[in-house]
Assembly symmetry: D2
Homo-oligomer: 238 residues x 4
């Protein structure tokens, strides 16, 4: 059983009637809904307005893979919570960063870069698979379309990914490394670009399949109790 | 002084009046022309119809960076010439593989894969820079256009590149890792997708700049005399 | 069920009484023995002296992961068999190359380099884990020892691995990237250095565990029927 | 002309007579001395006890490559100075992190990981070249020795490096990725392990050569004025 926590800022859906119409139960509610039918996944949600952002030590220690959607309120996630999540990732928890989470404190802390990109509202995307053998691409066709999606374009200021699984084509003329993997400490990280709040992206069957695949790929090999330098006082050789 | 050899199959330009009109002196002649005005480059050409494909031991031993354009006659390059070029790359010579050279014996031998891709005649491309700090991207804008270009699309069956420098957007709906680097042995390799024979791609200022940058990047750190396993009979420690 | 074929040259064990004493049933026999007790593995063996090296189309099409041990007779594996194995790897079959298989035709074909290295008989090795979160390292301690092992040292002339999972320390003074992963086409490849024929390396519990982990990691995401360029005659966009 | 700033914590040399005997002018003084004889380098120094750690906006904007040596007082470098250095690296400045700088705030911020490792005083190291074609390895033999050096061993908790240039062998039984490169934003980063304060490591000819090579490799392709997301209001395509 893989323990999944879906974290959502949950602000757009509260503030805007239009967006609430797309995701009446919040983005986290929609994601939880399509995940919880999977036999091997046990899903909970957490949001910004909960105490400690819903990411207490207890919750994190009980999480194998964390999903992260945020946009307007990145700055309101306290640094100590970010540090707590980062520690947990480095000790083995998987992390899946969705869409505008590219600018979240947690993603930037783990990447070490600005994670800046080029963007524009209201475009159309075709997602191409650039690594069909990757576990995250299992069951995904060579390409699929998102009739309405925000454009995210290169240059995406991230370190060289371990694998580029998807590359996005935008009708407006741009390209983007839309699905990228990174190993950090004992944790596996997947960044996945689709998911603008105004469109029902998380109801797309391939987007759902990719997120499920990514959870199974990112589940911990093992979780370490601590992260420390080892002072090996005695040499192994005399 | 960097010694450059521009190899061209030189078949399209001989057989087709239309293509000869684009490149009256052959693709190699056009490339030589824009390279030889550079003070640090010394340029020669070689073609399929020369003895030993123009790639004798003497020529290769006197080459720092080899450019390769081929398409229709990949199969007519003898295996022993391919082996000779591969050995030279592994001993330090730079190699720049252009456009349809993706299916050349030499590129496939160095990659270990089919180097297959998706393709279609007669499209329009916008080349995006995905790695602005790379030496090969120096002086290149965030994006530039090729009004007419053949489409090459994902999935491109290559090993993970060391760096993806450019990603192509095609009006017909595809994307492609258009500029990729690979280290093999002591040699540096750059694959660059633009360059279909029907269009004057090699007269584009940015294409020319990228090829010049790539030559300077791919020049050998050093050339080794031989490639052998070292039988270290005596241990370094007692 | 993962279908595993263990390929062994099977020459040392026949020709030398000393080596036969270490592996009375051949290296392949020893490996088969410790694999076949696993519930999810179905194991067969193949050797150089079988018709078509035991690697007929039927056998390969029925293999998910191929293990390869060879040393003295690399040159006697026919090129067409090597090509057949390479095609199968590129279409999705996993490949685990053991010890002196670094110089096999199949490994060199997939790497594109000489795979040369430094070597010396009769040393002692300590294998260090450089990537504890990798599935292949699951259950392996920070380091373990091989009291007798041939030394393989840097520089190992391979392309940059996707992951370096193990690094070897040798009492004689050398280091080596002892466990490396590579993706080629749809296939996953793991090179693992321990396994000199004179010592009972394949009876070591950690070596066995690593090989089992590697088989599970290398099993195909999917197997493709063919490998071809796709001529996409009609654009996706009008 | 490459503008180099050598930053040193400069605490050990002040507090300990033994260490001051090794580096009477400080580690920074020693490094400056062997760098300033190079015609293409213009060298200044900066230390923790200077105002703003000697890393004012003016100094950083006038620096192409920054070297960093720190150990005891990582915590005393103010976060705003770390942020300033990180921004400058992401806009193009090269960074060379030396020895115990693995635990500096700046290196950890750029890596996103703990950068933890295994360590022990008073060992002997042999540095092996694992990438002889890399510009940083130019002129360096296959291996060289440091008669006295602190042991740093795996597992080194860093992201996958772009290139592993050197691997260290320690007489006490460990191995370490001693020379690693990383690209972050527009900046190039080299981590180099040798350099314990108690031994005259920075007087070793190969260590000096590697640092000089690294400076030339890490010099900026270009420096960007700012780091921002681009809101591309109008699509490139109609």
């Amino acid at each position: 059983m893989i323990k999944v926590t879906v974290w959502n800022e949950y602000v757009h859906e509260v503030e805007s009637e239009v967006i609430r119409a797309v995701y009446p139960d919040g983005i986290h509610g929609c994601i939880k809904e399509f995940l919880q039918t999977e036999d091997d996944l046990q899903v909970r949600v957490a949001t910004l307005n909960m105490p400690e952002c819903g990411l207490t030590d207890e919750v994190l220690e009980d999480t194998d893979v964390l999903l992260w959607w945020g946009h307007k309120k990145h700055g309101e996630v306290p640094d100590e919570i970010v540090k707590r999540v980062q520690d947990r990732v480095l000790r083995g928890m998987g992390l899946i960063v969705l869409h505008s989470g590219h600018h979240s404190k947690i993603f930037r802390s783990l990447m070490g870069t600005t994670c800046d990109l080029r963007w524009r509202d209201n475009d159309r995307e075709r997602v191409w698979c650039a690594n069909p053998a990757h576990p995250i691409a299992q069951g995904i066709p060579a390409h699929f379309e998102l009739e309405h999606e925000e454009m995210y374009g290169e240059h995406f200021t991230i370190p060289n990914p371990d694998d580029v699984v998807f590359i996005g084509w935008f009708a407006g003329g741009e390209v983007f490394r839309s699905g990228c993997t990174f190993a950090r400490g004992l944790g596996k990280i997947f960044y996945f670009q689709p998911g603008h709040e105004e469109y029902p992206i998380y109801r797309n069957e391939y987007v759902q399949k990719i997120i499920k695949n990514a959870i199974r790929w990112a589940k911990p090999t093992f979780i370490s109790e601590d992260l420390i330098c080892i002072h090996a006082k005695q040499p192994l050789e005399k």
